[in-house]
Amino acid sequence: MSKGVLVDLTKCVGCGSCTVACKLWNDNKWDDKNPTMGPSAKLTDKNWTVVQFKEVKDKKGEPVWRFVKQQCFHCKEPACASACFAKAFQKTKEGPVIYYPHLCVGCRYCMVACPFNVPKYQWEKAFPLVTKCMMCNTKVEKGEAPACVSVCPAGVFKFGDREELLKEAKSIIAKDSKYVKHIFGENEVGGTEWLYISDVPFDQLGFKTNVTKRSLPSYTEAYMHATPFVGITWGVILTGLYHYTKRRNQISKDNNKNIKA
């Protein structure tokens, strides 16, 4: 059973504890140009999670403030891992999609593949790597919640088995009419380990709602399965051609010899 996090956006008070916890646990530097909180908060190679401030209208049309935590969604079938031929991105059995710097070749296919634009590149470094939220996999392995989840004073997050959380989310939104009837992450790109519920429509909060419900690797799976066959077939054809041309050259050489003689 993979682990997940249920995020109830209605409970966030915007304290930003989660962003500080991420910096502390991952020893990430503070980025003066890109704040981790506020209207211009932005995910960067240093900011693995941010809390965006949104001034929106609620169902009654009254202006309300909402705070949206962003980080890697940890897809059930991650496109980044699927695109990475070096296996630098790997999906663990506990749920986190993690990154091994020593395997990375720096091709950045993961960045292109991610539908949520999460992986970031250390453009300013001499030996750059790709970075993103790791869902604190070393903590999750020990049964602890990710750092950001563990520090929240307002009860925004719940950490546990994804399927259990999904059931709970369904029951919450069924019982309480304030919630929009959608669990972000249930089906998006085939499902993600991070699940969100909210009282304001997700598109107003900056969520990418027009993504496919199918997992992204499933689109390429059919072609990519053929890779070994294509490889072997081409090998056979090219080897055949090699021997054919070699033999032809040999024959032509021999013939020329005969003419001279």
């Binding site: 409970k11 966030c12 309300v64 790791m134 004073p153």
Partner: protein, 520 residues
């Protein structure tokens, strides 16, 4: 022999070159390995977390996270780089002040904060501090066109010394005035003066409420503490009619500086820059309230604010240090005249119970036209650090006046609930937002972490000691400058002009939050 020599040379040559090559190679490999990283660990997780978070996910954590702070909060600000998520700010906000956690989620369009700044006193890394306004004051002091006036609150004179190595509660009134004069302020006034003035206005209002001349409910609440006022506006807006309409001493003096003082000195109000030194961060919020422009409205220029900048005691200490001055070596100086006189009654405003004691001293006189008995000058039942104190005072002609004194907002809730249920036996209740009163306000020196009652008591003792032994006058009605103000400008307490300049109104803020039914 020759061969042997050649062999040795060759060996020597190879050794040196080989050695350098070897070292260079090792260095280069080392640097490459260090930069590229030879670890096969996944990224992240190389930092630390405070101990309380190193637990299984379901284990309850008592103190965690931190309070939300609006980036536009006029009083306090936080440096995320210094925050260690110790949870102390939540501890004080929720348990001592009962603000955080006392509203339902989702929040509406406000980050509920009474601006008291107690979190700045509890924060062990000083990540949360007052919003620094020193630059504004420095610029004003450098501007030759401006007449810069400053006032100092009662409580700053028993706190400032601690920033310069003095023992808690050291009385540095004269040195503080000297420092302000050396900094270049054109006039240095005492908020004790307007504290005495508040007694006249608030005392008159109380007598009118008791006698029925003013159709407002009893008990009357004091309105000097802006953190308390905002708390009442958020959580108990239905009780706002109980709140005295008197402005706080800071705002009274601010309004008078740009009217009475401006008139007496022949200076245009717009040329005056008014600064106040306060033990309180909520005073920054109070001065910025849109209605605090009485002097501007009086002069036909509503854009003028009564108080332009508020500095906390800590900010003043930083300003003094930045100018290379040492408070220890300054000679004692006196406040400027016109609004520099203060009595012991005004001074004790700085301690919990002080406003009440000062009010009783004057109320006795205003009603009986006689000096109060000695017992009323040392009203011990309402002194000290007990959260809620009460006393009964017999005043001839009125009967028994019942009063209560509350400090720290968690202590205010049961009293307010009693008032709501009409079960409160008191006529007059003093509320102070911060535990211990202004002497332990959010802008005072961080002498102990978290703030201790020992330090609070030392500051309180110093205040009462000055009231009993240093100040020659102990009753507000003896303040000659206040009497002169009424004679020359204001006519009498609660006059039309007094209402225009010294009284205010309140805002119902209950729409900005959903008050929690059952408190956390």
């Amino acid at each position: 022999m020759q061969n042997q020599q050649e062999g040795k040379d060759k060996q020597k040559q190879i050794t040196r070159r080989g050695f350098l090559k070897m070292m260079g190679g090792i260095g280069l490999t080392g640097i490459t390995a260090t930069i590229a990283g030879c670890s096969t660990d996944p990224a992240g997780g190389k930092g630390w977390m405070p101990q309380q978070y190193q637990v299984a996910s379901s284990y309850p954590i008592q103190v965690k996270g931190r309070i939300p702070i609006d980036p536009n909060n006029p009083s306090i600000t936080r440096d995320d780089k210094k925050c260690i998520l110790c949870g102390q700010c939540i501890e004080v906000c929720q348990r001592v002040q009962t603000v955080y956690g006392y509203y339902e989620l989702p929040i509406k369009n406000d980050i509920t904060c009474v601006n008291c700044g107690q979190c700045t006193l509890w924060c062990p890394t000083a990540a949360i501090t007052e919003r620094d306004d020193i630059d504004k004051v420095v610029k004003a002091l450098e501007n030759k066109d401006l007449h810069v006036v400053v006032q100092t609150a009662p409580a700053t004179r028993v706190g400032l010394g601690e920033e310069f190595g003095m023992a808690p509660g050291t009385f540095v009134e004269g040195k503080q005035v000297a420092a302000l004069k050396q900094l270049g302020f054109d006039a240095v006034f005492d908020t004790n003066f307007s504290a005495d003035l508040t007694i006249f206005e608030e005392g008159t209002e109380l007598i009118k409420r008791i006698s029925g001349d003013l159709h407002e409910p009893l008990p009357q609440f004091t309105s000097c503490s802006p953190g308390w006022v905002k708390f009442c506006e958020y959580y108990y807006p239905d009780l706002l009619p109980h709140m005295s309409t008197c402005k706080s001493p800071q705002q009274m003096l601010g309004a008078l500086i740009k009217t009475y003082y401006a008139k007496e000195k022949g200076i245009k109000p717009e040329k005056i820059f008014s600064v106040s030194i306060m033990p309180c961060t909520a005073k920054k919020f109070e001065a910025a309230r849109p209605e605090m422009n009485s002097s501007g409205k009086h002069a036909g220029k509503p854009q003028l604010k009564d108080v332009d900048v508020v500095l906390t005691t800590r900010e003043l200490a930083r300003l003094i240090k930045a100018k290379g001055m040492d408070l220890n070596n300054l000679p004692d100086k006196k406040y400027d005249s016109l609004m520099g006189e203060g009595t012991g009654a005004g001074l004790i405003f700085g301690a919990t119970g002080g406003v009440m004691e000062a009010a009783i001293r004057s109320a006795y006189f205003l009603i009986t036209k006689q000096d109060p008995p000695e017992a009323l000058l040392n009203l011990t039942p309402i002194r000290g650090l007990q959260g809620c104190k009460e006393a009964s005072v017999d005043i001839p002609g009125v009967g028994t006046v019942k009063v209560a004194v509350v400090h720290g907002l968690s202590n205010a809730r049961p009293i307010l609930e009693a008032v709501r249920k009409k079960e409160a036996p008191w006529h007059f209740i003093e509320f102070m937002c911060c535990p211990g009163g202004c002497i332990s306000g959010g802008g005072q020196p961080r002498t102990s972490l978290p703030p201790s009652d020992e330090v609070r008591q030392a500051r309180i003792n110093s205040i009462y000691n000055a009231d009993a032994h240093i100040y020659s006058k102990r009753k507000s009605y003896e303040n000659q400058e206040v009497l002169a103000l009424y004679e020359k400008f204001m006519e009498n307490p609660n006059s039309h002009l007094a209402h225009e300049l010294l009284h205010t109104h309140y805002t119902d803020r209950s729409k900005q939050l959903t008050v929690k039914k059952k408190n956390a």
